[in-house]
Symmetry: C2
Subunit: 294 residues, 2 copies
């Protein structure tokens, strides 16, 4: 029936054997000597075997005690390592952080945070999973990532959403459309020009399509691309007017390789949100990262 001894007894046994003295073990464990004596006795009785022989200088392992010790010592080492590891995890000296998001968000927005985090916690391994918003959400729900970074809005009761950073989408063009540089266009005027949009299932695409609808127009892109880099590249080469996130082209705007095509209607800002799964507690690393970004 016994189902094994109380593991705590093995801790006492370990120190008694290690120090060769019940009194010493007691000091090490912040106990009194009779407690240790009693604990050892319990083990001995449970095994029906003497573990120590006692003499005036302390205790010494019997043959059987030495056998037990050879196991318990290993076990004790493992537990000690485990406790150290857990401390390391908590202190972010170890562990891993798995983040899901789009390539462009990683590249243009999260990169400095990731750098900063890695610099301060070099022991924490970073795993970046790129994917579309729905993919990120799936990863998150499956527990394959700790947190997701996506465009808002997300409405999912399973997910905890923390709004983090506001991005502003806008239309940009290159030198080919220089005549638009100082103009303020209406939506109708904009539609005269070839438009380059991100692929159909992106949030930005849905947002802009809806905006045009709300004004009674329908926006049909000339070119449809699958990466933000291509969006930028095509605009720079004059293939059309791209709908991009302004923060992602700040360099090109400064250098003059691109300019913003201003409209006479406001374009809605888009919020970046940090997603976590409600039922899943955050790892220390994830907590720290959320604090950093948020």
């Amino acid at each position: 029936m016994s189902m094994g001894n109380n593991y705590e007894l093995y801790k006492v046994f370990y120190w008694a054997a290690k120090t060769g003295s019940l009194s010493q073990a007691a000091k090490t464990l912040y106990l009194t000597q009779p407690s240790v004596s009693h604990a050892v006795k319990q083990l001995e009785e449970s095994f029906g075997v003497a573990l120590f022989y006692r003499n005036a200088r302390g205790v010494e392992l019997t043959q059987e005690g030495a056998v037990l010790f050879s196991y318990i010592e290993q076990s004790h080492i493992l537990i000690t390592l485990a406790e150290e590891k857990m401390a390391a995890l908590k202190n972010l000296e170890s562990g891993e952080l798995r983040i899901g998001g789009s390539d462009s968000l990683f590249k243009h927005y999260l990169l400095p945070y990731l750098e900063h985090f890695h610099e301060h916690h070099p022991g924490v391994k970073l795993h970046l999973h790129h994917g579309t918003t729905p993919e990120v959400i799936t990863f998150l729900k499956e527990g394959r990532i700790d947190l997701g970074v996506v465009r808002m809005p997300i409405i999912d009761p399973q997910l905890e959403v923390k709004e983090s950073f506001q991005l502003q989408d806008c239309f940009v063009a290159g030198a080919r459309y220089a005549e638009l540089k100082d103009a303020v266009l209406s939506l109708e005027e904009l539609l005269q020009h070839p438009i380059i949009l991100f692929s159909r299932n992106s949030r930005a695409r849905m947002t802009i399509t809806e905006l045009f609808h709300s004004y009674g127009f329908s926006i049909r892109p000339e070119i449809e691309v699958g990466s933000v880099d291509l969006l930028i590249e095509f605009a720079k080469r004059g293939l059309g007017i791209s709908y991009v996130t302004r923060e992602f082209v700040s360099k090109e705007l400064e250098e003059g390789a691109l300019f913003e095509v201003r409209l006479n209607v406001p374009l809605p800002p888009s919020q970046v949100g940090i997603l976590t799964k409600r039922s899943m507690p955050l790892s220390s690393a994830a907590q720290a990262f959320v604090r950093l970004v948020g």
Copy 2:
């Protein structure tokens, strides 16, 4: 300050992780679910890290919990093995028994016991250390053997002595001395013949020397040998009259290869004793062997 967690908590953690359910773990450990819940919580608080995420189907390890489990599982396996090993030691399915004694005692007296013991407890390894009585006593005091089997008397307060078996030393001769077969000799008459004795530092040698002294004679052997086998062999070949233990030559006496040379004074019997060190508890194997022999 913590000095590590109560090891008992790790047992609970192990089963919670193993079964994926606090309720199941509780059943396994003959506890109630709240106890397990509480124990897990203590660990989580001590580490400052969530170990499980809870859902309607049970619990699942977090990243950190999985790390902890990888250590604790190993540790648990070791403790389980340790407990099994201790049971095996107690049941004499395992372990070792180290006996010290003279070759002749092993060969002529202990052998059947050793065979019997080995047959019944094949898992227990037998280590036989042969040596003289003082050597055996030293081994015993150094803890290098569990018990010693030697001729009595032994007077040593550190040692526990159990008298076991009585042996009778006697003089034997071979065909060459056939004329003595039915005679009853005096000590003086015996000394007319060449005597073969065991080497100087043996108990039998001291005993017989002392006996002759007490009758005013001095016994000086023609031949002095270092093994009982030689003692017998030399007697058989007619090199002299050997002083041997009767029980060790029972075969030769029966076969007629040797006969006993009777004396008109009684030769003292010699007692075999089983020695153990007082301060050292006997291993299960040693206990069993002592019971068998005693």
